[in-house]
């Protein structure tokens, strides 16, 4: 009874991300309990805002979570990942600035309503997604390679949209999306994330997106013979990711009210992919759990924030992150679990044989022989 319960818990997809989150929490608790302190302070604009590491995790984790939503769908449908999200964030952000500021990089007032700029960004994001999606679904190019094109070209295109100038948005309202709305001490990104999660939850509930995506990801041929159009499903996944990218771009650009083509959302694709993987979703596609990915995004951000806490420079951060990631992926790999499981089984068997010496020599031989094998493997 007890064992099956433990098995049920450990085999749940949310187990790994939750454990990772708890582990990070414990480490922080031991090293510096201040990590959990949340204070109310007044920011530069004179608004009361919450601050502290937890708030940072919520704030920056949210933009990652939004990307993880789209990335999960792309991964599930195509069995590959989109590595161009950072670059397309630059494109969508740049397009947004172009609409807001016009041709003058230092306008006195915004040239178009923010909503129009955002819609244009959405359109641009979806176009980029459509480009990737077309390459993957129609031309059957592997996703990683297809998106390598925009990965390489994205930032140059973003720079080209604004003639390599760095426009600054004059409207203080524009800063609300990546910062705080006056009077509300919680970062706006959290609300944007909640909205996105709500939308995708409704979509998953009231459409067959989940079933179609998984069917295509698991067995494309079979899905086609059941009347599903795999080309369109894959294409759609990329377009949805494009939409997520546009939302992330709004947040990213809003944070600084301008853009830095080479730095904006740098390496974010890696974090988004890791969020999906940490959520226990197979990177080779097929079945997925959206909420595990979203949680995975916050785990990644918690890790980043924790590492910053240890005064690790942002450049060196990557090395530590890599070690943690490898450990996480390593211990969640089915093969490793199998080895570990085998090892425990053999340990038990060994104990038993030690007790029952009467058992024939040959059996003991077999068991010890297999034990050697396990040790070798480990």
């Amino acid at each position: 009874m007890n064992k099956s319960l433990i098995k049920k818990i450990t085999s749940n997809q949310l187990f790994i991300p939750i454990m990772a989150l708890l582990l990070l929490a414990v480490i922080n608790l031991i090293v510096d309990p201040g990590f959990f302190k949340v204070t109310l302070r007044t920011n530069n604009d004179g608004n009361p805002v919450l601050s502290g590491s937890l708030i940072t995790i919520l704030d920056y984790g949210s933009e990652l979570a939004i990307l993880a939503i789209g990335m999960t769908l792309v991964t599930a449908a195509s069995g590959g990942q989109d590595i161009s999200v950072g670059a397309t964030i630059a494109i969508a952000g740049s397009a947004m600035l172009r609409v807001l500021c016009g041709t003058n990089p230092r306008p006195d007032a915004i040239q178009a309503p923010i909503i129009v700029a955002f819609l244009v960004a959405c359109l641009v994001g979806m176009l980029c997604g459509a480009f990737n999606g077309a390459l993957v679904s129609i031309f059957k190019i592997q996703p990683m390679i297809a998106t390598l094109i925009l990965f390489t070209a994205g930032r140059p295109i973003a720079a080209w949209i604004n003639f390599n100038r760095l426009p600054i948005v004059p409207d203080p309202k524009f800063k609300y999306f990546g910062g705080f709305i006056p009077g509300i001490p919680i970062p706006t990104t959290v609300f944007i994330m909640l909205l996105c999660v709500l939308v995708i939850a409704l979509v998953l509930k009231f459409t067959n997106l989940g079933l179609y995506t998984q069917a295509v990801g698991i067995n494309e041929k079979s899905a086609r013979l059941n009347g599903i159009n795999p080309t369109f499903v894959k294409f759609l996944a990329f377009v949805i990711l494009g939409l997520c990218v546009a939302v992330a771009a709004l947040i990213k650009v809003s944070r600084i009210a301008t853009i830095n083509y080479n730095v904006i959302a740098k390496d974010i694709e890696m974090d988004a992919i890791l969020a999906v993987a940490l959520g226990g979703n197979a990177l080779s596609g097929g079945k997925f759990n959206m909420w595990a990915s979203v949680l995975g995004a916050y785990v990644i951000q918690a890790l980043t924030t924790t590492l910053y806490k240890f005064h690790i420079s942002s450049d060196a951060l990557a090395a530590y992150k890599a070690v943690v990631v490898i450990l996480l992926v390593f211990f969640s790999a089915p093969k490793v679990r199998e080895y570990v499981g085998d090892f425990f089984k053999k340990m038990k068997a060994k104990k038993k044989t030690a007790q029952l010496v009467a058992v024939g020599d040959s059996a003991a031989e077999v068991i010890s022989g297999e034990n050697e094998e396990v040790e070798e493997d480990n």
Binding site: N208, Q214, A215, S222, A223, N226, G227, I228, G286, K287
Partner: protein
């Protein structure tokens, strides 16, 4: 010729999570013997063979080769010990040349001598009469030729034990004969051959002994002369079988007043899969079938009807009204269902649950924006799990963990749930156990008696004779005849397939 004990497997056990795949199985093989390994799907034949070839490790038991105990941890070990294998699926590399596929992974030389390799490969291909060149890329050969190349490789390895795991499923009759000739030659040379197949005829044609497995356990080892067919089937099923000859008599044919209505008509239908344009029609409540050798185009015909391949031309009518069927979805909308030939590749969606697999087609019909509620989906699934007697732990079990026969039933359930007017079954009985085969044939007749039109395709002619009232005969990718009534006999089919001249 003296037959010595070549291979001995004793007390072999193999566990998978939650399943005892093999329990205390014994198997022995003499030199110069062709030994059939029989059993239903899920009986443990493949597992036993994979243990012997080192693909799986065994959990207990001993393997002795020539009286010496051996440890086989990988396919390389097996090869080194003189055990070579031909699998049902092509296990060659499509991107390499024919010659490379025959020689890679063999021998100890670290350097490839292309010239020598190609020459000897060409020699073997010629000797075995295989229509391929050594330097040709394997992917450019037909499936049957690829299978022959795999056999050539296995034979050329000068093995002591040759395992043939359903190698004949993609071969036509001539090629099967060629293979049997080869097997007999090898037998003369003292090679022990383990032969796995679903075709009983083939067993009785070439084998000396039969070992029967059931549910992962050994049923027994028999001399071929001591075990007539009926007994063999009984051993495989674990029960005495009532006569399976005439199930057609048991069910009445459909007799509604619209019994003569043409449900589906096609004229000059042609797809991009390389078939000649063909005409076809089916009445309400009729069971008909396409017959012909493998590769004669029978699957391609029904795929064209369903729009599974790209339709290039032809006119299609449903109930006398012209309709357009450009793809599976339009076919489904017109009430056509298609159970594809290859269950694993075209049928199941492995990681999804039994429930999701069952509702898939109906769900797609219902529309992207109208998902079934969980309760509805469970109700549908449970209904058909019961109706078709699908053996699964629950409706949430991933379909890939079911046995072949049960997977087939799941796909059948998927299409029945749609309540189609016209159901196409392409090899529904391939690679599944005898019990399920009969279940499916009975079901076909039952459905037809209720007014469903069904096209039934099977490699086993007697199955088709038992179920169909009209057969379309195909040869070389075109329709060459149509048989019905008294013409429906084995010999008529054979002579029509063979051609008049």
């Amino acid at each position: 010729m003296e037959n010595t004990r070549l291979l001995e497997m004793r007390g072999i056990e193999k566990y998978f999570p939650g399943v005892k795949a093999l329990q205390k199985v014994d198997f022995s093989l003499n030199s110069g013997e062709i030994h059939a390994l029989m059993g239903e799907n899920g009986a443990g034949k493949s597992t036993l063979i994979k243990v012997l070839t080192g693909v799986y490790g065994k959990d207990a038991g001993v393997i002795r080769l020539d009286g010496k105990e051996v440890q086989i941890h990988s396919p390389q070990d097996a090869q080194r010990l003189g055990i070579s294998t031909v699998y049902q699926e092509i296990t060659l590399c499509p991107n390499l040349t024919v010659a490379e596929n025959m020689y890679i992974g063999r021998g100890n030389g670290a350097i490839t001598n292309w010239k020598k390799m190609n020459e000897s490969a060409d020699r073997i291909l010629k000797r075995m009469d295989i229509p391929a060149r050594a330097t040709q890329q394997l992917a450019s050969c037909s499936i049957a030729v690829q299978q022959m190349v795999a056999i050539a490789r296995a034979v050329d390895m000068e093995c002591k034990v040759l395992i043939l795991d359903e190698p004949t499923s993609s071969l036509d009759e001539q090629e099967v004969e060629k293979l049997f000739g080869l097997m007999r030659d090898l037998k003369e040379l003292g090679v022990g051959i383990i032969f796995v197949t679903h075709f009983l005829d083939q067993v009785y044609e070439v084998c000396d002994k039969i070992t029967v497995l059931r549910d992962g356990q050994l049923v027994g080892e028999y001399e071929i002369k001591d075990l007539p067919r009926v007994k063999l089937v009984a051993k495989m099923l674990g029960k005495e079988m009532d006569d399976l000859s005439d199930i057609k008599g048991e069910t009445e044919s459909y007799s509604g007043e619209d019994a003569d209505e043409e449900v589906f008509e096609a004229s000059k239908l042609v797809s991009n899969a390389g078939i000649k344009p063909f005409d076809f029609h089916i009445r309400k409540g009729e069971v008909n079938g396409f017959t012909g050798l493998l590769g004669s185009g029978r699957s391609e015909c029904v795929r064209a009807i369903f729009g599974a391949d790209r339709v290039l031309g032809g006119k299609v009518k449903m109930h006398g009204k012209p309709v357009k069927i450009k793809g599976p979805k339009q076919a489904m909308k017109n009430g056509i269902a298609y159970l594809p030939e290859d269950r694993k590749i075209d049928g199941i969606v492995g990681d999804l649950s039994v429930r999701e697999n069952i509702i898939l087609a109906l769900q797609v019909m219902k529309g992207f924006f109208k998902p079934f509620t969980k309760a509805q989906a469970y109700a549908f699934a449970d209904e058909y799990i019961k109706k078709l007697n699908i053996k699964t732990a629950s409706a949430d079990t991933p379909v890939k963990s079911l046995s072949g026969g049960n997977q087939q039933k799941v796909i059948l359930a998927r299409w029945l749930l749609m309540h189609p007017e016209y159901l196409i079954l392409d090899e529904p009985t391939r690679g599944i156990d005898v019990g399920t085969k009969i279940d499916i044939q009975k079901l076909v007749l039952e459905l037809a008696s209720e007014g469903m039109s069904i096209t039934f395709i099977s490699s086993e002619t007697d199955e088709m004779l038992r179920t169909c009232s009209r057969l379309v005969v195909m040869r070389d990718r075109k329709v060459v005849g149509e048989l019905s009534g008294d013409d429906l006999t084995q010999s008529m089919i054979m002579s029509t397939i063979a051609g008049g001249e």
